[in-house]
């Protein structure tokens, strides 16, 4: 046998991702349903999503508590019975709430769909918010809250959102200990009746679908009554705080947490796809500039990353890391340094090629299998976008030039406008 030359085998350009179009129809009461047929197993992921996130709350903790209390007892089942039955049918469910939306995601075996949909209807539309369950949930949550206040990552992140979105805006306001005493069932009932309604929601289903699936959905959810839409007051102003650099003292912390970033454009803006690519170069993957410099060259940290995220009203970008106190300032200086380099020096062709191919591979992973497909569908749909958003991202990955990266870095990473939050020992 000839001696093998250990040279890199030919690399083929990553194929353009193929995204199946979601089907859609409406239930009798107008609830939109999106269907994504995928996968080989007899399973489904069903997401019920409502515009019922933090943005809608008039009291801190209201949206998350309403969401977490959904499975704590309904008209026909106690909390214990609901949980026992969902477990019994081998389903997994996640209640979730974020800044804009709230809802539930269920993973189910197709053979139990009938029963699980019946239980979901109880959870979503017939919750009773019993006081004793609420009290014990709030006691538990207070404990978790106190625990999280011990972690420098959380201290820095909470302060970061408060700083970039404003102390009084629902995107930014911080929870305090006293907030846990204020929540009573009446608020939850009110919040639920306003926002967990057919005209404020959608159902996204993916997996191996059957004709019966649609019939069952209509049977269980098609007659949920549509109420008169709740008229909202004017939205609060989104405005960052004046103070750009904040340190939170946490005596005894072994590491300091750093968050650097600001609010920015969201997915609806034409520059967003380019900003995503810039963000990857800076700190979005293993061979990014920040990882190479701060972890792989200097060994200051276990991990450093940057990310750009979209919210309904705005987006935000943030660079996050935890480092030893003695390396904290050096790390911050290096972060700004890397940003300055991206603003001044055009990215070399080779590095552009790596990031192009890496993100192209990521895009294939984003659409691989029923669960990933549903998540990607939702994260375009909730901004009123469709697959053309992903196709324009794919196009941008192929065509973006180094000059455009430099330009984007100047426009969106103006160092004077960035917030710098640290948490750790003084």
């Amino acid at each position: 046998m000839n001696r093998l030359k250990r040279e890199q085998p030919p690399v083929f350009p990553v194929k353009r991702v193929r995204i199946p179009e979601a089907g859609s129809f409406e239930l009798n009461n107008g609830i939109p349903v999106f269907l994504i047929e995928a996968g080989t197993e007899e399973i489904m992921r069903i997401e019920f999503t409502f515009k019922a996130g933090q943005i809608k709350e008039y009291l801190p903790l209201l949206s998350s508590t309403t969401n977490m209390m959904l499975s704590e007892g309904s008209q026909n089942y106690s909390s214990e019975e609901l949980n026992r039955q969902l477990d019994f049918y081998g389903s997994f469910f996640n209640l979730s709430v974020d800044k804009d939306r709230a809802g539930i995601v269920l993973f189910i075996l197709n053979k139990h769909i009938d029963k699980v949909l019946e239980l979901s209807r109880e959870i979503l539309f017939r919750p009773v918010f019993p006081e004793s369950e609420l009290n014990s949930l709030m006691r538990k949550r207070l404990r978790w809250f106190m625990l999280n206040r011990e972690k420098v990552q959380n201290l820095a992140s909470d302060k970061f959102f408060e700083s970039i979105f404003g102390i009084n805006h629902p995107y930014g306001h911080q929870v305090i200990e006293k907030d846990f005493e204020k929540i009573i069932p009446a608020y939850l009932i009110d919040f639920h009746s306003k926002y967990y309604t057919p005209d404020n929601m959608a159902i996204i289903i993916s997996g191996k679908l059957h004709k019966k699936t649609m019939e069952l959905l209509n049977y269980y959810f098609g007659d949920v009554p549509v109420k008169k839409r709740y008229k909202e007051g004017r939205e609060k102003l989104l405005k960052g705080e004046k103070k750009k650099r904040v340190h939170i003292n946490k005596p005894g912390a072994v590491q300091s947490a750093i968050r650097i970033g600001s609010s920015t454009i969201n997915k609806r803006h034409p520059d967003y796809t380019g900003l995503k690519i810039l963000d990857s170069l800076l700190g979005g993957y293993f061979s990014s500039r920040l990882m190479k410099n701060i972890r792989e060259d200097k060994g200051y940290t276990y991990g450093i990353s940057s990310s750009v995220s979209s919210l309904d009203l705005k987006g935000y970008k943030v660079i996050s890391t935890e480092v030893s106190k003695k390396n904290c300032q050096k790390t911050i200086d290096e972060i700004y340094n890397e940003i300055r380099v991206l603003q001044k020096v055009p990215v070399e062709k080779e590095e552009m090629a790596v990031v192009r191919n890496y993100i192209s591979g990521e895009m294939i992973r984003m659409f691989d299998g029923p669960f990933a497909l549903a998540e990607s569908f939702k994260s375009a749909w909730e901004f009123g976008l469709d697959n053309s958003y992903y196709y324009s991202l794919a196009e941008k990955i192929k065509t973006i030039e180094p000059d455009e990266i430099t330009e984007l870095a100047r426009t969106y990473y103006n160092i004077d406008e960035l917030y710098e939050i640290t948490a750790g020992t003084k």
């Binding site: 085998p9 690399v11 990553v14 214990e80 060994g299 294939i364």
Partner: protein, 415 residues
């Protein structure tokens, strides 16, 4: 059903392939049969540090990540007590790049002092971030030497102390590589959009020329049976007091494994587990409580850990845990609960096997146990567990003399 084929190369490398045409990707998993249990007690944390070094370039490839990303791939790795596992996913058309990368670092690493120094720092920061700078982060680090006196499970994968990592030198690192990283000490699994023919051809091409290496036979000291209960109290500035209890169990391959795993699910699987229902929801003794079994290959542990609600006496909390465990012996309603837990295992297995990466890791691990077909049989193993087996296991394992307990007490006034 996960259909797979198995081959062995002349150099001892075992290869498992599962074809799944529904994805455009391939997952490649390479498991090395070396973990923290194979470390010298004076050099703990080396297996995990070594995992970091594997990304610092190999003999023909100066940078591992760059060409992988260039081919649209993504990768990561983890180390535990028993083995070290490297994996990547990549678009099918570029799978050969994965073979090229993984075989080169099995062939030989490019050991550099600079890379070693950097990764030592990175791992020390990881130690701090995950264990030292988190409330209760060190609890299980302290539990190990309480539960194990002799067996290397007495230290955790991150190591006994950061100084062991800081002291590692290039010579030790090289020795570690050549005595554990070898085709005859590894398992390769490929899942996804790849045929077994192609997988075999590429395995032979890239891994075939790597020569068999001498791997020292594993001779680990057996942990003697625990004779009396062990206790430790830690006092720290944490928000609330926590309770940790562990019991010794048999090895991963013992017949009791599935019974014991099922017991931990009766106790803490899902919202409706007994510990949660009784002690969190009804009695409000704990704010959260969990029970699980370590999947260690040598005799492992059952772990119960919970955080107490304000003002609860820890002895009372501990007693309540014992009571709930004991209650599993009363047959009231337990049949339904067992059925529930078994259904949950079945669906967890179905959901886990929707991911090609999970399938690749599961196949490799089951091959390490010597039974790759377990990937399709485990649900039945759980189905076979009877109430009598549960009762017998509780009486045998959950006894005070087999137990180690940590009271992790909060020093705050308002605890």
């Amino acid at each position: 059903m996960v259909n797979f084929k198995k081959f062995a190369l002349d150099n001892g490398l075992r290869v498992l392939v599962h074809e799944d045409r529904s994805t455009p990707l391939v997952a490649l998993n390479l498991l090395y049969d070396v973990g923290s249990r194979d470390e010298d007690p004076s050099m703990t944390g080396l297996a995990h540090l070594f995992e970091h070094l594997m990304f610092g370039g190999s003999v023909n490839i100066p940078d591992y990540d760059l060409p992988l990303q260039m081919a649209g791939g993504e990768n990561n790795a983890f180390t535990n007590n028993d083995f070290t596992n490297y994996y990547l996913t990549i678009p099918a058309e570029n799978i050969e790049t994965g073979f090229w990368l993984e075989s080169d670092r099995m062939l030989e690493l490019d050991f550099s002092q600079k890379n070693l120094d950097t990764q030592k720092n990175v791992v020390v920061e990881e130690f701090k971030q995950r264990y030292l700078n988190q409330p209760y982060g060190d609890a299980l680090l302290q539990m190990r030497p309480l539960a194990y006196k002799i067996h290397p499970y007495r230290w955790s994968t991150i190591g006994m102390d950061t100084s062991h990592i800081e002291n590692a030198d290039l010579e030790q690192v090289k020795n570690f590589f050549f005595s554990h990283y070898a085709p005859n000490n590894a398992i390769l699994a490929l899942t996804g959009n790849i045929t077994s023919n192609l997988a075999l051809r590429l395995s032979k091409k890239w891994f075939g020329p790597i020569e068999k290496r001498y791997v020292k036979l594993r001779k680990l000291p057996a942990e003697p049976p625990q004779k009396e209960e062990r206790r430790l109290t830690i006092e720290k500035d944490v928000p609330s007091t926590a309770l940790y209890k562990v019991w010794h169990i048999g090895p991963r391959k013992s017949k009791d494994f599935y019974t014991l795993d099922l017991i931990t699910d009766l106790l803490a699987g899902g919202e409706s587990g007994r510990l949660n229902t009784k002690l969190v929801r009804e009695k409000k003794i704990f704010s959260e409580i969990n029970a699980y079994i370590t999947s260690d290959i040598d005799p492992g542990l059952i772990i119960v850990q919970g955080k107490l609600m304000k003002g609860i006496n820890i002895e009372y909390a501990e007693e309540s845990v014992n009571e709930v465990i004991g209650s599993l012996q009363n047959s009231n309603g337990i049949k339904d609960e067992m059925e529930k837990v078994k259904n949950k295992f079945e669906s967890a297995s179905v959901f886990s096997n929707t991911s090609i990466l999970n399938k690749a890791i599961n196949l490799s691990f089951n091959e390490l146990l010597g039974k790759p077909e377990l990937i399709n049989q485990e649900v039945d193993e759980y189905r076979k567990v009877t109430l009598e087996m549960v009762i017998e296991a509780i009486r045998r394992y959950f006894i005070p003399s087999n137990c180690s307990t940590i009271y992790y007490k909060s020093t705050r006034k308002d605890k």
